[in-house]
């Protein structure tokens, strides 16, 4: 990695999800040098785990293809995967950054031919599928992986499988001696786009995510729809592999809740409305298929209201204004049973379902006050972009700054790109 060149004219983008990819390529296409670091072995981030986007119901990998092609072809963007920021010091126009790159055990000679995976038998959990599925310990992260290069799971290093993988590679691409590397750079501005992680559903004790098989998260539900996901694109419930047809969605699972996330995560209402359309996709007009949404407020903001109206017109879908009190499980059928009160008229309910989807919210992947360099955190740990610290050259982008939907995250990242360019141009002007 000695060939990574950076100066105080370089923008460092931290995070290779849609926000980071956007910030990186938009900056590069303005003529700026960019280093894009991503912790995972592939670009893509959270959106690559989604099956469809609301409200168009289009596929995230379509935009991902365009972004990755732009990034990979652009001479001004340098992508470093499996890389994290270890330390960051300095001020706008002059940051010293230490990056840490985990060993991939596969070098740039890899042709993605797949012989290494073929040669070994060890399997490991696949985090892309929230560990609902396993994959070979030598693997290509996803069909859309960029860079298109295999990875060896560290757990097999030192085992016979690692040797088998190495021996199977005709191109000398497997390097079992790879070590963690550290790299120090000088950059002018930083765009922090580390995104979100789904709130840990197990913390919502009354909903029994950790106890009941048939209680899943909204992100896991997305993976179930993917033909290459854990259930082969079918809505099969975890307990017995039967098709889940009667499905409940619990909104604000963790969000708008003093005990969990204080904030509203913004995207989850639309995500659940979108997910009700998956039932139609899976079951057509089957009368047994139904979706019930338990909600506090349906936040279909501005022109998304149109989508909400469409879902309301779907006779499969019903709405109950209620914060669900708790979930129990029928011992025999393993069906989850929701208990609570419908606040529109105060009716008690004990409703049984095949599957419950918790609309869990967004937690910042990295808490803003852990970034350093005076980056300010807001009350939920996101980056407070408007805190009084005008001299700072570290700009939040996307869900690192707030719970945002994809469209707004990209909007925000495009803005962050200009903020970073302002710092770079100012530094260049001062030196000219």
């Amino acid at each position: 990695m000695t060939d990574v060149v950076a100066t105080n004219q370089t923008i460092l983008v931290v995070g290779g999800g849609i926000s980071g990819m956007t910030a990186a390529i938009e900056s590069a296409e303005c003529g700026k040098d960019v280093i894009l670091v991503e912790r995972n072995p592939s670009l893509g981030g959270r959106v690559s785990q989604l099956y469809r986007y609301f409200p168009k119901l289009c596929k995230p990998s379509c935009g991902q293809e365009i972004n990755q092609r732009r990034i990979m072809a652009h001479p001004r963007v340098r992508v470093l995967t499996m890389t994290e920021v270890d330390k960051i010091e300095g001020e706008a126009g002059n940051y010293s950054v230490t990056l840490k790159t985990a060993p991939r055990y596969v070098n740039e000679k890899c042709t993605a031919c797949g012989d290494c995976a073929e040669a070994i038998s060890a399997e490991v959990d696949d985090p892309h599928n929230f560990n609902m599925k396993k994959h070979k310990a030598a693997y290509l992260p996803t069909n859309m992986a960029a860079p298109q290069r295999y990875v060896l799971d560290p757990s097999i290093i030192g085992t016979e499988d690692a040797e088998k993988a190495r021996a199977a590679c005709k191109y000398d691409a497997i390097d079992l001696d790879m070590q963690e590397e550290s790299l120090s750079l000088n950059v002018g501005a930083v765009i922090w786009a580390t995104g979100f992680k789904p709130y840990d559903a197990a913390k919502i004790q009354p909903y029994g995510y950790d106890r009941f098989d048939n209680v899943v998260t909204n992100m896991e539900f997305e993976r179930m729809m993917d033909p290459f996901g854990p259930t082969g694109g079918k809505l099969l419930r975890p307990s017995d592999g039967k098709e889940a047809k009667k499905i409940a969605f619990i909104q604000c699972a963790g969000s708008r809740d003093r005990n969990h996330l204080k904030h509203c995560s913004r995207f989850c209402c639309m995500a659940s409305l979108k997910q009700t359309t998956y039932l139609t996709e899976a079951y057509g007009d089957d009368d047994d298929a139904s979706a019930t949404i338990y909600y506090i407020d349906i936040r279909a903001i501005d022109r998304f209201e149109d989508f909400y109206q469409k879902v309301k017109d779907d006779k499969k879908v019903s709405f109950i204004k209620s914060k669900v009190a708790n979930i129990t499980q029928d011992r025999e059928s393993k069906n989850p049973i929701l208990h609570g009160v419908n606040t529109e008229g105060y009716h008690r309910y004990d409703d049984e379902y095949d599957l419950v989807v918790l609309a869990v919210g967004m937690d910042p992947e990295v808490k803003a006050d852990e970034i350093g360099c005076k980056v300010a955190a807001n009350t939920s740990g996101f980056i407070d972009a408007h805190a009084d610290d005008a001299g700072c050259g570290i700009f939040g982008a996307g869900c690192a700054t707030d719970a945002l939907d994809v469209n707004r995250a990209v909007q925000n990242s495009t803005a962050a790109s200009l903020k970073a360019i302002q710092v770079i141009n100012k530094t260049a002007g001062a030196e000219a």
Partner: protein
Amino acid sequence: MADEKKIGAYICTGCGIGDRLDAKQLEMTAQRDGKAQVVKTHEFLCSADGVKTIQDDIDNDGVNRVVICACSRRAKTDAFAFDGVTLSRANLREGVIWVRPDSDEAQETTQEMADDYVRMACAEAKYLDVPEPNENHGNNLRILVVGGGITGMTAALESARAGYDVLLVEKGPELGGWMRKLHKRIPDRAPFDEPMDTGIDDLVAAIEASDKITVALNSRIARTSGAPGQFSVDIATESGSTTTENVGAIIQATGFKLHDPAAFPEFGYGNADVITSAELEELASAADGGPIKRPSDGKEVKAVAFIQDVGQNSTEVGKLRYDSGAGDLVAIKQAMYFKHHNGDDCDTTIIYDNLRTPGTAGEDFYRSGQRKEVIFTKGAVSKVDAAGDTLKVSFHDKILDEDTEMEADLVVLDMGMIPVTGPDPYATLEIDTDDDEAEVVEEEEKEDGVEAENPVEVSVESILNLDYRQGTDLPQLKFGFLDSHFICFPYETRRTGIYAAGPVRRPMDIGQAIDDATGAALKAIQAAENAQVGRAAHPRSGDLSFPTFRKEGCTQCKRCTVECPFGAIDEDEEGYPQYNEGRCRRCGTCMGACPVRVISFKNYSVETIGQQLKAVDIPDEFDEKPRLMVLACENDAYPALDMAAMNRIEYSAFVRVIPVRCLGSVNTIWITDALNSGYDGIILMGCKKGDDYQCHFVKGSEIAHMRMSKIDDTLNQLNLEKERVATYEVEITDIERAPKLINDMAATIEEIGMSPFKF
């Protein structure tokens, strides 16, 4: 005289290609059929050594048409990147060996497949040229911002802070827009608990102090012509003078107007004490720190009701199908005005259906309102009446599920936002024509099968007055907003170099408008910078090619000028197309439209594709080896087939897949030629069309479907079955379906038999 073309074909035997295919045979094919002057085989072509072999031939042997016979064009792009030469890729890995079984009986057809891909890549190479930047590009990097509200001011300041000159045009006598009328704004920083000052005076002062920003007040855009990097704009002032300015890119930040509260008489607007939330801002400012008084008699307000989403979120005629997005936060802010100025005991009730206070800021501010004892009532208001000295608000309480009423001194209506735009160039619906000034815009001609602009009566004044063949203003999306259609690309625009920002793009609050303005400024700067070097804008960013046409052959049919999804092509007095290269997005829709095939790009033309399909070896009818052609969108269908290969999903060995920039670029001559030369089946794979279209060139897929609907005539003339040509919408995730479509076509051909046109 152009340099002599020298084809170098490089065959990789790595990744199992050498095990599965006869490389010697491929070499011979490249030499004999492909007319490659240099043919080399390498066991690991993407290695440093393999790449060096190619680079050496380029440097020392004059190879300038490089043909890589290895993996997909999507793989190893970093290794196979050579300057100053053209690149063709024969997809032997994902396109052949990974989709075919490794068996003896499959061997012959698999090898034929590979040989054909080598022939096709060489044929393409022969007709490719290295694009050179267009010489007719502008160098202007100045940004024009139209609209002097918070969005426009932010766009101007942020552009200036990045070092760019700005011209800010405002139709009114002062800067500030709606922001100037506000008493306070919703907080934008932690702890998000109190309304904050708007800071408008500081903002205006910063603009006035900037030596990079020129402000034109009382001014409008009388005419806009040109392209990114070289727009020419006439600025007309109220006094009648006009000046011409040159700019590189444009941001339209013309904001919104409020929906008319008088249109909803049930809410009692007309009664002096029923006001809009905008009017309350003025009332709050007028109170000057003292208690807010009601307009009718100056009595201090002790009870106020906020009615949310008036005339919004409804499909009823005259109502908006969306909401303003910010109305509930505004109501909370305004309720706090009363708590601050009229005392804690002033009753403030917000009647809402779904309260929308998203994000961290929204929810914190909502909680702050709750702490201040603002009352939130889920209900639907049916009526507001005068009741003696006060107002009576009748509503259905949705929690108690009963009809009830409350009294208030003042009622505040949350009205929706309507974007301030010019006429939609593609409007097909008749809109309000009561206005005397309505002008009728007639489309002179309607092309067959093209969704041409219908005659539309327009009562809206143009904002940009674009001197474009396809209308005066930015195309609209839903509900009149100038939004992008793409979730991943909110700044996608159908008029290159012109970006909408703020509530004209989508309903939004101040915080989002500031973000949006900053993002739009980035895109405007980028468009101007790209224009300066002749590079294409998104999604073919960086592409240096541009369309040219052979005037002698042109019949002035205007199909290209009508069908261009980006309004890039104008017409001269004689009706010949006038290309504005800076506005072009390189999709090739014009090339697909041209009936006489005079439009081409240096690196993409009727020949680069047409010669590929002609290069395929068509076996004799009695060989029982049909040939199928797939024209696949390079962004979605082609990657889907690639990913099918990565998962070893097999498909017919009789198919030959050609990636195209967009189905819109598919010229029907390719179909006709293919049918005439003996292809048995043809499949077009493009993106989703219709309202929720996914085509990144907007209309490409739609247009292709229309063009293909008329291919039946051709089939009839040739006496061929119509099943031989099929057009599909294919998503990038159709990893299993795309191969199935191919196999289905193969099965169909088996059923209906071979084409008789094999010579």
